[in-house]
């Protein structure tokens, strides 16, 4: 096939996959009833109804405060962590670094559930604290508790961008400051961090955006106390009126997009601005880490403590729950140990299928997604003109759509668009939703890899007469194959971890661990949830281990 035919086809496919769900949502939000109802007509009724709901306003306010709160926690801590790891002689920084990114690859539902068992009102850690102080000094199911956990678990997102930006700074600048007698703190706050201000701002905006998309944490930690955020309010609308109220759900979805889209756009602008800071040079220089002095060990202790709080604590909670029959106040754990939960998993065909499907969607689906992202990235690779610029904005659209909403829109599409309806109960429906949700991430991975191929190599092939397609096939793609394997591993982990996108698509044939956990959470089958969670964490852990062994950079 000619490139001139292939390129528009790829472009068209991408545009359809992104805009079909969004278009359907918008259309549905402007109807008075579910779009399949013959009585549905165009109206703003649904908007009027939702805007008059006190619950909606409360959910909006909570979402805003949570976003703000977690940004205020994650941005400073993440920046500081970035400085410590990238610029100082923090002891153990080399082996600490891969661990810092682990929370990114853990499912928030699993973590939230782990926190309940660990630091909930009768969690094992809480009971220990109670035996020390006579009371539990924290309250997990509170606004503050939710914000603290959301903030702490999003530190890696800030760390990722800030540490990368810091590594780009010419160390001479910091050294000059050190020579004139500035301590590490002074250097951090007056030299290094101000230099990477755009990266901090960018990642802060990212965390703020992610705050509006939080679903797993508020579902598990906020629901019982009646604390609603926009996504859980949307989830609740599924049931509120006792009849399907798709038009109302669509309105809430559009409301979320109306907030997230400008944020994504703002981020895009910030990223553009960051390249204008010129001190960030490309020249490799001998880099001498800044000595932290007396602060070395306290700072290490702080990083380890944070890691314990966001990785060890919840995972220990999940692991513990998976091997006991009951837990909590007055239970002697040794008396209730059991492996029954894992054994009983095999009695449930849907759960077994869920595990198999998770591996399939991560393995095969991940590979297919990487192929799709590569095609898309290549279609704009080193190309002047409209399409690359358009693609740049196209991938931003799904970034603004929470997985829950993309999943819902695809559920509707597969339900009512006859030609694709038979695919609804196959993994394909899930795959396309996942691929769209992770579009921005995937394209970023592939583009970064493509950039490593020097243009000369492709040009050499062109000069001796290879067609563009042949160049891609024989030069570009073979050269980036290691990068593709790395991308596949990262996508694998994201697909395995994904939980909200599959919630509405869940049915016989499309079970995956993530959405099964959300569904089972509703029915309260915690024995099974804990066993499934452990399996999910093990799968992700194995992939993470492989990725690290292969030297894949997690912060791509």
């Amino acid at each position: 096939m000619k490139l001139s035919i292939l390129r528009p086809l790829v472009a068209l496919g991408a545009i359809l996959a992104v805009f079909a769900p969004l278009g359907l949502l918008l259309y549905q939000s402007l109807l008075s009833a579910p779009f399949f109802d013959p009585a549905a007509r165009a109206s703003f009724e649904a908007y009027r109804y939702i805007l008059a709901q006190p619950d909606f306003h409360r959910a909006f306010g909570s979402s805003f405060l949570i976003s703000l709160g977690m940004t205020l926690i994650a941005a400073p801590l993440g920046s500081l962590l970035g400085f410590l790891i990238a610029r100082t002689d923090l002891p153990g920084r080399h082996w600490l670094e891969p661990w810092i990114l682990v929370p990114v690859f853990l499912s928030p539902v699993v973590m939230a559930f782990g926190y309940v068992v660990a630091v909930g009102p009768v969690g094992f850690f809480s009971l220990w604290a109670k035996s020390l102080f006579g009371f539990v000094p924290w309250k997990l199911y509170s606004f503050a508790g939710l914000i603290a956990i959301a903030g702490l678990t999003h530190v890696p997102h800030v760390f990722l961008y800030v540490s990368a930006a810091l590594r780009g700074i010419d160390p001479a600048v910091e050294e000059a400051a050190r020579v004139t007698g500035a301590g590490p703190w002074r250097i951090a706050f007056t030299i290094s961090l101000p230099l990477v201000w755009p990266a901090i701002l960018f990642s802060g905006a990212l965390v703020f955006l992610l705050g509006f998309e939080l679903f797993g944490l508020p579902l598990v930690l906020g629901d019982p106390a009646g604390l609603l955020v926009l996504t859980t309010y949307l989830y609740k609308l599924t049931n509120l009126l006792g009849v399907p109220s798709y038009q109302l759900m669509a309105v809430v979805a559009i409301a979320i997009v109306a907030i997230t889209f400008p944020l994504v756009y703002l981020q895009r602008r910030l990223l553009g601005a960051s390249s204008r800071y010129a001190v960030i040079g490309g020249k490799g220089r001998a880099f001498r880490p800044l000595p932290l002095g007396a602060l070395r060990w306290p700072m290490t202790a702080w990083v380890v403590l944070w890691l314990l709080a966001v990785v060890a604590l919840p995972l220990a909670g999940v692991a513990l729950r998976s091997v006991v029959r009951s837990w909590g106040e007055g239970v002697v754990l040794l008396d209730v140990l059991t492996l029954d939960h894992f054994r009983s998993l095999w009695q449930y065909p849907n759960l077994v299928r869920g595990i198999v499907n998770t591996l399939l969607i991560g393995g095969l689906g991940g590979a297919a997604a990487v192929a799709a992202y590569t095609l898309l990235a290549l279609s704009a690779h080193r190309l002047p003109g409209l399409w690359p610029a358009l693609l740049d904005y196209l991938v931003l659209v799904p970034r603004a759509l929470p997985g829950l909403i993309v999943g819902l829109a695809f559920f509707w599409l597969f339900l009512f668009f006859k030609p694709i309806a038979p695919l609804r109960s196959t993994l394909f429906s899930l795959w396309i939703a996942y691929t769209v949700v992770w579009l921005a991430y995937g394209i970023k991975l592939i583009t970064a890899t493509l950039m490593q191929v020097k243009p000369e190599l492709e040009e050499a092939a062109r000069v001796i007469g290879a067609s563009p397609l042949l160049v891609y096939r024989d030069v570009t793609v073979p050269l980036i194959r290691f990068g593709l394997v790395g991308s596949w591993l990262l996508i694998f982990m994201m697909f395995v971890r994904e939980y909200s996108t599959g919630v509405y698509l869940l049915g016989p044939g499309t079970e995956v661990i993530g959405s099964l956990i959300v569904s089972l959470w509703g029915t309260g089958a915690l024995d099974l949830i804990s066993a499934l969670s452990v399996i999910e964490v093990l799968i992700v852990g194995l992939a993470l281990f492989t990725a690290l062994r292969l030297g894949v950079k997690l912060d791509a």
Partner: protein, 358 residues
């Protein structure tokens, strides 16, 4: 050891003989039709843990029928079904849900297909509606508490007792009480609206729940977990069947059958018009209502058999014996629909919110 083998042999023997005896009424055509379809899709709110013995047994009877069992919450079942029915894409072969009102609404709106089960004669009159909606169980709606946290003499024995307890010891019970969220759970909504129907004092109870900042959940399972862990001391409107099952695993769980009145609901099953394997659906419905299926319900699933001729731990007969007139079965009939009217529903929920001071 030899004794165990002997018992196993007897059980096996019985299992081999039983199928012949169990379905005297089952028509050959139906069985043949179902086997030809080869597949059965069930949307159900019965926890997989409780349903598993029934499914295993059904599979052993009809090994050629592949069973797809989706364990969903009550409103998920309703929503999924309505969407699938509207899309005309075909749907499950049996809907089996504890949200009696939602089930009846679906049948009432013409989504079911009539089928006169050969087991009808064995069921109470009120449990069958127009040969479409079948009540399959009779399950107590209980209060469940943690025995480690609530001493025996403090356990409430009636609704009035419970209200008094919460009001008198509001500070002790703050954050320690759980119940269904009627906004999110279909069966939760059914239970509180039925409470209101039976007892005019219901709103006092709701206010007492609000006074201790009750925590609300979408399922019995989630509540049992937290009563079991001690996060909550007592939970209101717990499906007794799941409580009983949990009690087998965790002896700290205690159940209260309230003496003033006890609701008992019935999981309603019906066969949708759009069923892709209607014969398999009918066959499974017959199985659920059969003596064999009901005996498993009474002894293994513990979801309380509705038939009178069944002996075992969890039976309607036992409940009647224990509670007499105080047992209030929720009948399968159009009465269920009144609370579903949109304005009435929203009014009720608003009042509920106010009582809870949310």
């Amino acid at each position: 050891m030899t004794r165990r083998i002997l018992v196993a042999a007897v059980v096996l023997q019985l299992a081999l003989i039983l199928p012949v005896e169990i379905f005297p009424a089952e028509s050959r055509d139906l069985v043949a039709g179902a086997q030809k379809e080869g597949r059965l899709v069930v949307y159900s709110s019965t926890d997989t843990a409780s349903a598993e013995p029934l499914l295993q047994d059904f599979k052993s009877l009809y090994p050629s029928i592949q069973v797809e069992y989706s364990d969903l919450n009550t409103t998920e079942i309703y929503n999924r079904f309505v969407a699938e029915a509207a899309a005309g894409s075909g749907t499950a072969d049996l809907l089996w849900s504890s949200a009696m009102d939602l089930q009846l609404q679906l049948v009432n709106n013409g989504n079911g297909q009539p089928y006169a089960s050969p087991e009808i004669a064995q069921l109470p009159k009120w449990a069958v509606w127009q040969n479409q909606a079948y009540g399959t169980t009779l399950e107590p709606v209980t209060m469940t508490y943690n025995k480690r946290l609530l001493p025996q003499d403090a356990v409430p024995s009636s609704h009035a007792d419970f209200t008094r307890l919460l009001n008198e010891k509001a500070s002790v019970f703050k954050d320690k009480v759980a119940t269904f969220d009627p906004e999110k759970s279909g069966v939760g909504f059914l239970l509180v609206t039925q409470d209101l129907k039976v007892s005019p004092a219901f709103w006092d109870l709701a206010k007492a729940l609000g006074g201790v900042e009750v925590k609300v959940y979408t399922s019995t399972g989630a509540m049992l977990e937290r009563v079991s862990s001690g996060e909550h001391t007592i939970a209101y409107n717990i499906i007794g069947s799941y409580g009983l099952l949990r009690q087998k695993k965790d002896p700290a769980i205690g159940l209260v059958f309230p003496k003033d009145y006890m609701l008992a609901f019935s999981r309603i099953a019906f066969i949708p018009k759009g069923a892709r394997h209607p014969n398999a659906g009918k066959l499974f419905l017959d199985y659920l209502l059969s003596k064999r299926g009901q005996e498993l319900m009474a002894n293994k699933s513990l979801i309380y058999s509705i038939r009178d001729d069944v002996a075992g731990e969890a039976t309607a007969a036992n409940l009647t014996k224990q509670l007499g007139k105080a047992l209030k079965p929720i009948e399968v009939g159009p009465d269920l629909l009144t609370a579903l009217d949109k304005t009435k529903r929203l009014d009720f929920l608003k009042r509920w919110q106010e009582a809870l001071k949310r």
